[in-house]
């Protein structure tokens, strides 16, 4: 039994998602581990799925709480689909509906060689800075983002520090002698 299989009925959100995307290859995995509704989708369908989540009247996810990424370089065994897809990163979206008071987590696995995905700034302006941060710290390119530059680190910084293979002792320009 995998860690995410907790049994129990689907919540209305999950039921709606499964109904909408039944028969397509969009949904890779769905679960509700510890009460958090989670769906894993193909990265190419991100605009479609998130647009549906926002605009569907039964779902109405009007607040994009968070956009972040995780680097599964050493821990891909946590999510077996990462191994089968050969993916390294996962972009994680947390959404909340203020009207309906429900949440959902949307995850999109990305391969190491092509870590790009569509930007959702056109759906929620709050994605702007979150996506810039994911670019800054993980190197994930958000296609269609109006201003994809570093936000937390300075412009001349080299590398994407939250990646697991970023050497912590690496020296950067503007700080001390170059390695």
């Amino acid at each position: 039994m995998n860690w995410w299989e907790t049994g129990g009925a689907d919540s209305p959100v999950m039921a709606r998602m499964k109904e909408r995307f039944a028969g397509t290859s969009t949904l890779i995995l769905t679960h509700a581990f510890k009460g958090d509704d989670t769906i894993v989708i193909q990265p190419a369908d991100v605009s479609l799925v998130l647009g549906f989540l926002k605009c569907d009247p039964a779902l109405a996810f009007d607040i994009l709480m968070d956009v972040t990424a995780v680097d599964y370089l050493n821990d891909a065994q946590i999510h077996p689909y990462l191994l089968t897809m050969g993916a390294r990163f996962e972009v994680v979206y947390h959404l909340y509906s203020e009207e309906k008071n429900h949440r959902i987590r949307v995850k999109a696995p990305l391969k190491a060689e092509e870590p790009d995905i569509n930007s959702v700034v056109s759906l929620w302006p709050s994605a702007d800075w979150f996506e810039r941060e994911a670019w800054d710290l993980y190197g994930i390119v958000f296609r269609g983002h109006p201003n994809l530059k570093r936000i937390l680190l300075y412009e001349k910084f080299v590398g994407h520090p939250l990646r697991k293979d970023y050497p912590k002792t690496k020296r950067q320009p503007l700080i001390g002698p170059v390695n």
């Binding site: 994009l64 709480m65 972040t68 995780v70 947390h94 203020e98 800075w129 570093r150 936000i151």
Partner: protein, 403 residues
């Protein structure tokens, strides 16, 4: 002038003027929290603003990936450093959700009490800073006095004035001190008096109203689209409070109101915080009457270290102590997200565990990050003098925004 000519008419080119570029740099009396604004000014009007954050980026996530689960607590202190305990509580609840344990009743009540005291301190600081930067120096001092008294209460419990490090996975470091309820009563009496003084000085003051009313208003739909949560969202009229929408700890057992604003302008944000102070005090008082006696830690040495006596004398406890200190608490495999209501909004923690004693991913969803990204929307076309109260009332805390 024809329509076409009007559209082609560039005031600056016709009159040979330029926009004045001013850098409101990271060290500026008003940018508390080290933020840089590049302003393009036409006289005093802000034509364009570029907000640059990241001056306080300390690598929170990367650091936490190298720590053991319990070692993350000092780092969470330093996120929104005005509400250290609240950050601790949020993180502890997230890890406890992933493990699947519930802390004892007394622990939950104390966590609520300390979170609300932290929230009170944070609101005092925000409002005082807002008053200070508008020139009302006396009002600033009154609320700083109130804040110091509340922080004295927290210091008596946690041992530190600012970075509290009070909560642990499965419990707390220590119980409330003796006489806490009596101290709270007298402190709150003084705080309420100071609140009245502050209120009399500012709330109906014509100068203050002119500066805050109808400045930087935001609609409810815009606020939600830009990821606002907390007092800024409630000021825009959206009644979303994590404590009410998805009650955690003992918030469903206490009675409190959620102040809602109308227009989302600076004055509403100010008033929402003023009212929340009173509501937080009510929560603390109710918790102090309801709080039961009992243990404050989960009775399971695998998750929470028992007392030193037991760890030093009983072999089973000693083994657990050894393992949790050397390898860290072994949080089971999985990922969760847990949100608490921070002083600025929804403070969310998203953690991923691979079963070992170190996190794989330790994400904080900072409430003031998206709020600050909306600053250009709010302030374009207004005067520099409006930037100051707007920025104060949005309440960017550098530690939280930049992590």
């Amino acid at each position: 002038m024809t329509e076409q000519a009007k559209r082609n008419y560039d005031f600056h080119k016709e009159h040979h003027t330029e926009l004045l570029t001013v850098n409101m740099g990271p060290s500026h009396p008003a940018t508390h929290g080290t933020v840089k604004f590049m302003l393009a000014l036409d006289g005093e009007t802000i034509e364009n603003i570029d907000v640059e954050v990241g001056y306080l980026h300390r690598g929170f996530e990367k650091e936490c990936e190298a720590q053991m689960w319990n070692g993350v607590f000092p780092y969470t202190d330093r996120l929104d450093y005005l509400t250290s305990v609240l950050n601790n509580v949020g993180y502890a609840m997230t890890v406890e959700k992933l493990i699947g344990i519930t802390t004892p009743e007394r622990c939950q009540y104390i966590r609520v009490i300390m979170s609300e005291l932290a929230r009170i301190g944070a609101h005092y600081t925000t409002l005082a800073a807002g008053a200070l930067e508008l020139g009302a120096l006396t009002a600033f001092i009154y609320f700083v006095e109130a804040r110091e008294m509340v922080w004295d209460l927290i210091e008596a419990t946690c041992g530190a004035r600012l970075t509290h490090n009070y909560v642990r996975i499965g419990g707390l470091t220590g119980d409330l001190p003796d006489g806490f309820a009596g101290n709270v009563k007298s402190v709150f009496a003084t705080c309420r008096k100071l609140w009245l003084d502050f209120d009399k000085l500012l709330t109906k003051n014509r100068i203050f109203l002119d500066r805050m009313r109808d400045v930087a208003a935001i609609s409810a739909a815009d606020a939600k689209a830009w990821g606002f949560t907390g007092p800024c969202l409630r000021a825009a009229g959206v009644p979303y409070d994590v404590r009410r929408a998805q009650p955690y700890l003992v918030y469903d057992r206490v009675d409190f109101e959620i102040p809602i604003g109308e227009t989302g302008d600076n004055y509403d944000r100010f008033q929402v915080r003023m009212e929340e102070l009173e509501q937080s005090m009510r929560i603390v008082e109710q918790c102090l009457t309801q709080i039961p006696d009992g243990p404050i830690n989960v009775n399971n040495p695998e998750w929470r270290q028992p007392s030193k006596d037991l760890s030093s004398t009983n072999i089973e406890y000693m083994i657990h102590h050894f393992k949790t200190v050397m390898e860290g608490v072994h949080v089971p495999v999985g990922e969760v997200y847990q949100a608490v209501e921070g002083a600025n909004g929804e403070l969310g923690y998203y953690i991923v565990s691979n079963g070992s004693g170190h996190p794989v991913k330790m994400r904080v969803r900072p409430p003031c990050f998206p709020i600050t990204s909306a600053l250009p929307l709010l302030i374009k076309g207004r005067l520099i003098a409006d930037l100051i109260p707007t920025f104060d009332m949005l309440n960017l805390i550098g530690g939280e925004c930049d992590r």
